[in-house]
Symmetry: C2
Subunit: 228 residues, 2 copies
């Protein structure tokens, strides 16, 4: 039996649903490859069209512009991640262990899951580390947010916040701590590789160091008294 994961995406994200056609899936697949290779700034629909043997106009039939396409793939990533979190924490009782697992998932390099044929999750994870915040750091955040484009990110944040509250129902900042964990899982990794003096592990460049830092941060906040 082979299971394939299908994520239902917000319809506002696209003009025509890319998951439904061969061309659409090619667009997703190769936009990830191209953005990963050269960065979002240098990515254009023209280059993408050439790569997959179609025309610019062809891409525009699926996505309004390249920013929407970015928001699409980043949203896909957050949805996929929440699914992954669900699967891996489902059978865990202790909220503390759940949280640790989540931190590990957030901060660890992805080995390409074979879940989905037209998305390379490892590349996508690396894209989100570097380009993810550009999805919302715009002048039209508020409009985009009204269209619920960021729902997957917010859902993930809420899920983690709920587990934080399970750990300590009196903790005052579950959502802010949650968004801090998510952002820092990416940023500390980015810093470690690119601006190492902003971290304490520039010389070792090991994901597990970032995990150590985040765990320390989170559990110190949640259990200010009990810890050694």
């Amino acid at each position: 039996m082979e299971l394939s994961l299908q994520i239902k995406m917000n319809e506002k994200l696209f003009i025509r649903n890319p998951e439904e056609t061969e061309l659409g899936r090619e667009i997703i697949l190769h936009s990830i490859v191209l953005i990963h290779k050269a960065g979002f700034e240098s990515f254009t629909f023209k280059k993408l069209a050439e790569k997959i043997g179609t025309t610019e106009a062809g891409i525009y039939r699926y996505f309004e512009n390249k920013h929407r396409l970015l928001v699409y793939i980043v949203s896909w990533y957050w949805s996929w991640l929440e699914f992954k979190v669900m699967v891996h924490t489902n059978n865990i009782q202790s909220p503390e262990i759940k949280l640790k697992k989540i931190i590990e998932i957030l901060a660890t390099q992805v080995k390409d899951d074979v879940n989905t044929k037209h998305v390379d999750e490892r590349l996508l994870h690396e894209i989100v580390r570097m380009e993810g915040s550009k999805a919302y750091l715009t002048r039209h955040v508020t409009d985009d947010n009204k269209q619920r484009l960021f729902k997957p990110y917010k859902d993930l944040c809420a899920t983690i916040a709920a587990i934080i509250l399970e750990c300590n129902p009196k903790y005052k900042y579950p959502r802010s701590l949650s968004s801090t964990i998510i952002e820092m899982a990416h940023y500390q990794n980015f810093f470690m590789h690119n601006l190492p003096s902003l971290t304490d592990f520039g010389n070792v460049k090991d994901d597990r160091k970032v995990i150590g830092f985040l765990e320390d941060l989170v559990f110190a906040s949640l259990f200010p008294v009990k810890r050694k």
Copy 2:
């Protein structure tokens, strides 16, 4: 007596030093106004040139491109902020109180200092909140970093890390905690205003809430045992 603050900027940031000429200062002044008004993406040298009554070519004599100009003003901000931190913590003995002061400075809306005539610090602070990370979230971070373009940011981070170590010499992640504070002082504020469900203070929108969160985070990490 009137003191005016002069910040020495890395020469790699510009082609011709904008602080030395009237036109140069106009460029800085109005680029801040324009980026603040419509965001970095929609900012162009053409618009800037029109605004200050010169030509595109005129601007290109000072800055290689608009990204360099962004890095310039963001770097200026970090230098200015480190100066501000120095002034406000200079006479404080206790490293804990120093840290609190720094968090307050980082997370509080700036009232326009009259220090500098050609920079509106309040606008600049708001720009850095929204556009700051775009300075380093590029494919050429490593090159830019080699040219020491991010030195002011890294210096500030190191300064805060040193104070963290004064608070608790055994704390293992002074730099990462420092960069976390700096980034989150901006991000939590951005979230609070634009994606409120990622924080715990979307309904109140008060800088002091962000300060409360950051203080809790930092001091829980630094004093895992002692705190109530």
